[in-house]
């Protein structure tokens, strides 16, 4: 049977448990003899750790132990980088617990183990910590003065400069007829998951084995890190991924607690659980985004883009975390986005500051890059008197220019190219969906006290990071199959999507895929995980390979049993048949299994356009969305239902970053947004009118599914699109937003400044 489950919107398998409250997240797992870990975190942003006295805490009934760096033989281990692990970053990596200096508010200092969380929290209050405070480095502009230094021996707060280069930008600028220079910045956001992080560890003293619950995203990587830190062979550690309440890049990376909790369990020889509370989460989970760009764009007088050059500065926080360099790297490689810019020269500096360290958040570096360039394009088009749509049409990379080579980044020597697509077609589709000829008449118009504005931006989204992914297929004793994955679920619907892919590959009804297993390092030989919008593309392609391998071993086994040549064996849904018509049910081969893999060093690039129609109340700086359209071409849509969920869901996260979200610090490095009443997230009343159109007109040529990573397209262009829409609405005030978020206060200030200027 030839299936078409791929491409069919299918309701999700995982919903059956989630909707009935039967999901099992890490805090739902109970264990006899459990101790609860509570972490004492630094309340000082920068200082020398003088002493920790836990004697009073240890007297509280129910407090079992207080662990500090002194309990770790050889000192606290370091958390190594997973992505871009350059030697230059080594000195900036994070120890699992502070031992000589504290470098951000929220850095772990001690771990209390108690019989309840409440008793553990009581104990935190009586641990006496002495810290000699040092001047805090509260942002990159302070960091670059190098007066107060986070890592004394290094003498600088800059950990690295990524350099992206294409063509000869300086020569191009020297003879360019038009150059615009701008300074733009994005706020500090993070991939806040509704489920805070959690780790539970059990230590089997007899077998010398650790079992870790609460693993997510990249369990195989994390197992290797932990094994090295804790001096165990990898096979003596099992990582178990429970249901995971959101990922967005932030959840599942290796954090200090991913060492501290297993270490504590082994230290006291009892199971230990740690569940992060929301306040901790705001100061301990990876931050992201805070970047400032000083850019120049050169073009012809007709709007043809020639070159881009400049500097981007990323506020890295206090340490280089596992994937901390990705945003700063991506921003310099992808600043040109979907546009043809022959000459590129960007220096991207990574500045260490006394804030929570940075990691990835959905669309890392790409959200920022899109805001920077799209904002500049609108300002340039206005300056040159060119229609901004025409400006984009002129510069978008066309289908016949694909694959299109982008700038190379040093020192990682990252060479990359876009894979396929018709970028102008996506823009045209978005214009059609909003009825541009009609709606464009509203630009800048004041109606019922609100100014109408339109934002139009184009984007590309990278996906499908290599080097490989693994999957395994096994026959069950009830004539069904199980699929085992090396990749992971962070809530995106992996069980459903992979059942569709496997059913099509095996040519069986989808209910013959009894279960899709993910979430243990025991299922397959190796795995990578859920990041860089890669699970469906990489894992799905691995399922195709596993299917081929499974069919080969099935023919072999059936040939033996039926006494005929393997080549004469056919398989159909639940039976295996020899050339002469004799057959055996699939269950005869229960337990038969084969692994497959997909290796890939290229990336997929889905692409599209966003158009926002907003109104702005200039008196109070309030933005409302009248209509918002996203068009995204994803190469091949496996499940259009869940895919649209990815696009709209990531769009609303992006709108949060565009207008609401910002992690604020004062000049002493104190986090001012320590609750969800301060760090504002989108709620149901904020953004009601959103539409998305997912197309699969241009399959990716670099994987057998033709699919492209598509979990980030909604977020990437939201900041640029909203800022352009606000500028368009408030054109009569000369408003040009140069930073995010577009808070009411910021918009109000821009309007006031515009009015003052007009009055002069």
């Amino acid at each position: 049977m030839k299936n078409t489950f791929i491409g069919t919107p299918m309701e999700r398998r995982e919903d059956l448990r989630f909707l009935r409250g039967r999901g099992e997240y890490v805090d739902d797992v109970a264990m006899p003899g459990l101790l609860y870990a509570v972490i004492l975190r630094s309340s000082v942003a920068h200082g020398r750790l003088v002493s920790i006295d836990a004697s009073a805490a240890l007297k509280i009934p129910g407090v079992h132990a207080v662990i500090t760096g002194r309990d770790m033989p050889g000192g606290p281990p370091i958390v190594p980088m997973r992505l871009q692990p350059l030697p230059e970053f080594k000195p900036f990596e994070q120890p699992v617990i502070a031992h000589d200096k504290v470098r951000y508010v929220g850095e772990p200092i001690a771990v209390v183990l108690a019989t309840s969380v409440a008793i553990g929290e009581d104990a935190l209050d009586v641990i006496d910590v002495k810290i000699d405070e040092l001047p805090a480095v509260a942002d990159w502009t302070v960091a670059q003065q190098n007066k107060s230094i986070l890592f004394d021996k290094l003498g600088t707060n800059r950990s690295l400069v990524f350099e992206s280069r294409k063509g000869d930008a300086d020569a191009a600028f020297a003879k360019a007829p038009y150059v615009r220079r701008e300074r733009l910045r994005t706020g500090r956001h993070y991939g806040l998951t509704m489920e805070p992080r959690g780790v539970m560890a059990t230590w089997d003293d007899a077998k010398g084995k650790l079992t870790i619950y609460g693993a997510a995203k990249v369990p195989f990587f994390n197992r290797r890190i932990l094994a090295a830190q804790i001096n165990l062979p990898v096979e003596q550690i099992e990582m178990i991924e429970n249901d995971v309440g959101g990922g967005y890049g932030a959840r599942g990376e290796f954090y200090p607690e991913d060492f501290l909790i297993p270490f504590a369990a082994r230290h006291v020889k009892r199971p230990v659980k740690w569940i992060e509370d929301r306040r901790e989460n705001l100061m301990a989970m990876n931050h992201a985004r805070e970047e400032e760009a000083i850019l120049e764009v050169a073009c012809e007088r007709d709007g043809t883009l020639i070159a881009i050059r400049g500097d981007v500065h990323t506020d890295m926080g206090a340490y280089m975390r596992t994937n901390g360099a990705v945003g700063a790297r991506n921003v310099c490689q992808f600043l040109p986005g979907p546009y043809r810019i022959p000459h590129v020269k960007i220096d991207s500096s990574l500045w260490m500051t006394n804030k929570t360290p940075v990691g990835t958040y959905r669309g890392p570096g790409r959200f920022e890059a899109n805001f920077f360039l799209e904002r500049m394009i609108d300002m340039i088009a206005e300056d040159l008197g060119i229609d901004r749509i025409e400006f984009r049409r002129k510069n978008l990379i066309t289908a016949k220019e694909q694959p299109y080579k982008v700038a190379t980044v040093q020192p990682t020597n990252a060479v990359d190219e876009y894979d396929s697509g018709d970028y102008p077609a996506a823009l045209e589709r978005a214009l059609k969906e909003v009825n541009w000829p009609e709606v464009s008449k509203l630009q800048g118009k004041l109606i019922d006290g609100k100014y109408h504005g339109l934002g139009v931006v184009c984007f590309i989204e990278g996906g499908a990071a290599g080097p490989k992914e693994t999957a395994r297929i096994e026959a069950n004793d009830d004539d069904t199959f199980s699929v085992y994955l090396g990749t992971t679920s962070v809530g995106q619907g992996v069980e459903t999507v992979f059942a569709q892919i496997a059913a099509d590959a095996l040519e069986v009804p989808v209910d013959r895929i009894r279960h899709v297993y993910h979430g243990s390092t025991a299922y397959v030989s190796d795995g990578y995980g859920a990041y860089h919008s890669r699970s469906t593309v990489m894992g799905g392609s691995a399922v195709l390979d596993a299917t081929n391998n499974f069919m080969a071993v099935l023919r072999q086994a059936a040939g033996k049993k039926l006494g005929c040549a393997e080549s004469n064996i056919t398989f159909d849904i639940d039976k295996v048949t020899a050339g002469d018509g004799r057959s055996l049910p699939l269950r005869t081969f229960a337990g038969l299994t084969a692994e497959g893999e997909f290796k890939n060093h290229k990336h997929t690039y889905s692409y599209g356009a966003h158009i926002a129609h907003v109104t702005v109340d200039a008196r109070i700086g309030r933005i409302e969305i009248v209509d918002y359209v996203v068009v995204q071409d994803v190469g091949r849509a496996v499940n259009p239902l869940t895919l649209k969920g990815q696009v709209i869901g990531s769009l609303v996260q992006g709108l949060g970053g565009a207008v609401l979200e910002d992690l604020k610090y004062d000049e002493n490095g104190q986090l001012l947004t320590g609750s969800l009443a301060d760090y504002l997230l989108p709620i149901a009343t904020d953004f009601p009118n959103l539409r998305c159109f997912v197309t699969d007109d241009h399959p990716s040529p670099i994987n057998p599914l033709g699919a492209k990573g598509a979990g980030e397209g909604g977020i990437i262009a939201a900041g640029g699109c909203m800022a352009n829409a606000v500028a368009n609405a408030l054109q009569s005030f000369g408003v040009q937003p140069r930073q995010l978020p577009l808070s009411p206060g910021y918009i109000w200030e821009l309007v006031q400044a515009g009015q003052r200027k007009a009055a002069e």
């Binding site: 989630f18 509704m194 869940t642 609750s675 709620i683 953004f687």
Partner: protein, 154 residues
Amino acid sequence: MSTTFEVNGKQVTVDVEPRMTLADCLRHELRLTGTHVGCEHGVCGACTVLVNGEAVRSCLTLAVQAEGSQVTTVEGLSNDADLTPLQKSFRKHHALQCGFCTPGFITTAHALLTEEPDCDADRVREVLSGNICRCTGYIGIVEAVLDARQHYKK
């Protein structure tokens, strides 16, 4: 101290510290882990349960405050045989991804639809604005609740 209340139709007596929240009591003492804790300061709504039919934040309610009342959790709004019409509607409209906030939305929406089966989209959005979902962008959730109204009309 000892406190007695009804959970999903069954009377329970638990011995808890006065400072224990209803959320912790449900999750850890009664092992009803469908109620999730997302912020512990009353903003995210993941812990919403029904107390005497009203949607209440169980992270801001002490267990001892539930004395004598009827508490309903997501488990009490579910059955083994099949999804309920509200749950089916959530599934159909892809109103959940990671599932962590979902029990809070189900309980909140159930309370709303029971009281106001004729509510419009604005009212649904207003009532659900006390629950945070980070995955879906709310479009599917609002559609799901609107679509389920028919099953609550008497």
